[in-house]
Amino acid sequence: MKITKEISIGDVAARSEELRGENMTLNMGPSHPATHGVLRLSLELDGDKVIKCDPVIGYLHRGDEKIAENMTYNQFVPYTDRLDYLAPLANNVAYAIAVERLAGVKVPERCEAIRVVCCEMARISSHLLGLGVYAMDTGAWTVFMYTFNEREKLYTLFEELTGARFTTSYTRVGGVTRDLPEGWLAKVDVFCDGVLRTVDEVDRLLTRNGIFLERTEGVAPISKELALAYGLTGANLRASGVPFDLRKDKPYSGYERYDFDVAVGTKGDCFDRYLVRMEELRQSVRILRQAVRGMPGGAWYAEDAKKVFLPPKAKVLTRMEELIQNFMLVTEGPQVPPGEVYFEAENPKGSLGFYVVSHGGGVPWRLRIRGPSFVALSILPAVVPGNYLTDIASVLGSLDFVMGECDR
């Protein structure tokens, strides 16, 4: 005989407090594919729902700010590669401009244009990876392969320009390490066509993909007010509807000479952050094209900044004055007057800020690095609770952070 028991919803609701299980504490990371590096999230879960999220960072802390106080300005350039290691060129440029502002050095137009090319290529490289892994986190493996293909071409271009594929260390205070190789700009132009095709392909794969939409649309919306209160910058801030882009609003390195649009979202959810990055890729290509085709000639480093930038090697080997200048610069470091400066650049991940305090000489007294990823992660305790455990991968992927810059 079949025994049935009728349960009314009302009875269950009345017993809901009694039926509630214990909350579970779950450690996500520090080694977890969705945390993109060594991030640990200490989560409190009620079933599948996140009640509390406490990010634990510092696993990649190397003391970069301490190291910077113990070496000359140019010696620190390789350390900036390892901040946002997905866009080392952009970090190099931001650091060089910060120190140049303090030293009062103005670089020539060609140098500025080279740096813009570097920054935009770094942005494309970083966004391609960001989108690839974001799609992978939400279940679409293929996109990663498409975007990595393009990144590989970028790395080849980086290698030709700087001599290294990942850790480029391309800039110096007052210029860059070397001029553009011959025929390189034409290759960048060809790359631009290819990357646009890939972006379109990714667009077709993801933007109207039902699974991707389910996992991102409406998930973890960040309101305009919340984004500003937490100091979010870059694409994350713009996705929340704040049209703020340092390239437009505080132009540096000659960005005012280029024509481009700033992508702004409306809802600030995970899907908006994806859309903003997709549009930024296209705008970056637009800037890149203008910079490549209008590359000015002339000097590629600040020739009059004799106390900051190394003289050309040929002159060092043949002339006394330049030999002494070279020796003094290498041993004493670029000479920067006493003072302080704060400079933020629009990096792929957001505003990368350098606050430099100098008491003169070749070594900074204090060098503070404001990492956009550090700030982006600080918003997690406000955004993640209320979402499901599975949404965390979407949220983390959409914020597009990198731990090298967060932990410094």
Binding site: N70, R101, L228, T233, T331, G353, V357, R368
Partner: protein, 195 residues
């Protein structure tokens, strides 16, 4: 930014004549009111950065530097806050984003933020005994026990100072030395702080 309105409202502010942006020294007592005034009446809605600094020639030894930004008129303003008795009021009630920055300043310099909701270490582990960005802390670090006591018991390991011998990328700069730039003196002790 309306500098006149700011200084007439807060006469205790000292203009430091910043070269790249308006810079003021704000005493800790005024800080919250100044930041609130800047946020609500001058539109400085985004806290760009907050960091601790150990000053070379100032007393008190430590201070906090805050950079505020307005997204409307795209301007920055910088506030220097001296940390009297290593204490500074927390601005995280006005800008929640200051929370982590203040935790970092506490971690690195030992500056305490009055009114901070959760002042824990952030980059170093809980229970770490030093504040590493202080100038009297050696670059290589100081030996401390492992954060995990159970692992330390089994392995007998500790967190050791970094090997610095002949480190070629450490230089004083600015001063001419007789030889090649070499590693800093790492014989740091409590009695004889690093010069």
């Amino acid at each position: 930014m309306d500098a006149a309105a700011l200084t007439s409202r807060f006469p205790a502010l000292r203009d430091l004549a910043g070269k790249d942006m308006p810079t003021y020294e704000a005493p800790g007592g005024d800080l919250l009111a100044v930041v609130k005034f800047l946020r609500d009446e001058q539109g400085f809605d985004l806290l760009a950065d907050l960091c601790g600094v150990e000053w070379k020639d100032r007393t008190p030894r430590f201070g906090v530097v805050i950079h505020l930004l307005t997204t409307a008129s795209k301007e920055y303003v910088r506030l220097h806050v001296p940390a009297v008795d290593d204490r500074v009021p927390s601005v995280s009630s006005l800008h929640p984003g200051a929370n982590w920055h203040e935790r970092e300043a506490y971690d690195m310099y030992g500056i305490r933020f009055d009114g901070h909701p959760d002042l824990r270490r952030i980059l170093m582990w809980d229970g770490y005994p030093y504040h590493p960005l202080r100038k009297d802390f050696p670059l290589a670090g100081i030996e401390v026990p492992l954060p995990a006591a159970d692992v330390a018991e089994v392995t007998g390991q500790a967190v050791e100072p970094a090997p610095m011998m002949g480190g070629p990328f450490v230089s004083h700069g600015g001063r001419m030395s007789e030889g090649e730039p070499s590693a800093l003196d790492q014989s740091w002790t409590e009695e004889r702080p690093k010069s």
